[in-house]
Assembly symmetry: C2
Homo-oligomer: 325 residues x 2
Amino acid sequence: MTDQMTAVQYGVGPIGSRIVRAGHQQGIEFVGAIDIDPQKLGRDLGDVAGCNESLDVTVTDDASAVLGPDIDMVFHSTVSSLQMAMPQLRECLEAGVDVISTCEQLTFPQYRHPDLATELDQVATTNEVSIMGTGINPGYAMDFLPTVLTIPCHTVKSIEVLRVQNASTRREPLQRKVGAGLSLEAFEEQIVGQEGHVGLTESVAMIAHALGWTLDEITEDVEPVIAEAPVRTDYFEAAVGEVAGMAQRGVGRIGGTTKVDLQISQYIGAPDARDVIQIHGDPSLMLEIPGGIHGDRATPAVVVNSAGRVRGGTPGLLSMVDGLR
Amino acid sequence: MTDQMTAVQYGVGPIGSRIVRAGHQQGIEFVGAIDIDPQKLGRDLGDVAGCNESLDVTVTDDASAVLGPDIDMVFHSTVSSLQMAMPQLRECLEAGVDVISTCEQLTFPQYRHPDLATELDQVATTNEVSIMGTGINPGYAMDFLPTVLTIPCHTVKSIEVLRVQNASTRREPLQRKVGAGLSLEAFEEQIVGQEGHVGLTESVAMIAHALGWTLDEITEDVEPVIAEAPVRTDYFEAAVGEVAGMAQRGVGRIGGTTKVDLQISQYIGAPDARDVIQIHGDPSLMLEIPGGIHGDRATPAVVVNSAGRVRGGTPGLLSMVDGLR
C-alpha cells in the first residue's frame, strides 16, 4: 500500500520522528519535512528523526515550499488541539494533498468542533483530497476496535473499555503528564484541570456515531492512581501513598443510562497493562489484549498503515469507523 | 444504517431464517423471499423464518418476480459453493440489487475462483451495485479481525488464529458434520475428504491479500478430536476414545515459511471455547475472546451489520478487508 508513495512529514517531534522511521522502513519516500523548532531547521530529516541515514530532505519552516499536489500524503503530527492545527491542515488540503494527522481532536471533530469539522470536510472535498485523524488512542484501541467488536452483535446495550498502560515503559513527558511521583495535593493542583490524555470525548462520540446513538451528554473526569508499593522509573519515583499516575474516564449517556464507558489508567509500575473491551448486548462479547497495545510504538504504525485507506477514500473528512457498519 | 431499508431474502434455511429475524428486529423491511423448498413455497416469510408474526411476504421460487432495482439489498444464503451460487448471484446483480451473501467461497473468491471473481466484479460494476460475502467465519473471526489486529504493527512476520467452538451448543447438522460420536474408523471414512468447514482457504487468502503477501501455497487438513471423557449432547454422544469433533487447519506459506496458520476446532464438550489471535511482529500482539464468538448467532449479525458498508461501497466485488489497511 505504501510502495512508491511520496510523503511530507509535518511536525518532527517524538511522534513525527517515529512516523518517519516507520514510513521509511515501509518504503515511503519522504520528500519534505516541516517544523518550527530552530534546533531542527536546516538539518536532514533522517538525522532529526533518528533514521541512522540521510533522507536527502532538509527540515524547513516554510510549508508552502514543500506542499503540492504531486505529494501523495502529509503525515501531520504537531498539536492535540484542532483549533491550533487548523491553519496547518487547511494549507495541506488547499495544496491538494491527502492528510493523516495524529491531532487527537481530529479523530472525530464532529462532536466538539462541528464548525471546524464542516470546514475541513468542505475544503477537502473542494480540493478532492481526504483528511483523517488517527493514532492508537484515540483512533484505534478505545473506539475503532470496540466498534469492530460490535459487528457480530444483533443488539448492543452498552460498551465498556478499560485500557491500562504501564507508564514506566513510556516517554518522560508522558510520565510527567500523568503525575507520576507527585503528592496528592500536587496532583490536585497541577494535573486535575489540565487536559491530560486528549481524545476520550472524541472516542466516545466516534463509537456513538458508528452505533447510530444520539448521546445526551459526554463527561470526562480524572483521578489519581496511588502507589501501593514504592515504584521507580528512569525519571520518577513514587513512595507508597504518592501518585503513580492517573485514571481518566469518559462516559457517554442517553437519558441517564451509560452507553459508552471508557477508562484509561496510565501509571508507573502498573503490573497488569492490558486492553479490555466489553460489549454488553446480544451476544455479549469480551476481548482482551494482555499487555495492552503500546501507545508510543503503535501510533506511528496505525498512521502509516492507514495511508491506503485515506488515499483510497472518498474526498472529505474521514474517520476510522467509516464503513465499518 | 438499516432504517427504511428494503430487502429480499434469498434462501430461507437455518441461517437465512436467522438473517430475516435479525434484520426484521433492526427495522429492515423484507419485501420478498426466495426458496426452492416445496415445504416453504407459498407460506409467509415470517412464519417460515420463525418471526412470530406475519411479514406479509410470500416465499416464492421465482426470483425474477421479486428482484428489481427498487430493492436495497439481497441477503443471500443458499450454498457454500460459489460455482453453485453463481446463477443466483448473477440474477441479483443483473436486477440491479446489492448483495450480501453467506456463501463461504464468496468471501474471497479471487484465490480459488479467480474467473468467477472477475465475472462477479464485472457484472456488479456494469450494474452499479456491490456484492460481498461475509459471515462470522469466514468473514470476521479468522480473517477480518486478525487483519484489524495488524493495524498497530509496524511489521508482521506471521499470523496465528485458533478458534475453538463447543459444538454442543450448535445445531444438529453442525454436530453431525464434525463427526461427533463417530469411531476413528468411521471418521476417516465419512469425514476426512468431505469439505468440512468451508472457508479456511478463503480466510488465509484474504489475510494475505490485506497484508500484501503473495503466498506460494495454501494447504488444508483435518484431524479428529478424541473424547478424553464421555460427552453427550441432545443429538450425539461420544465415549472415551471416540470422536468428539474435528480440528481443521489452513496454512499459507511463502517459500516454506508459515505466514498464516488458522486452526478451528469444533467438538462437543469443548471446555475452553475461545477465539485467539496472535500477531507475530513488531510489536507482537495477542487477542483473546473468552468463550469465543458463537457461529450460528453471530453470522446473521455480521451480515445485517454489513449492509451499510455494502450499500455505501464502490460498485463491484467487495471483501471485508477492503480499506482496512
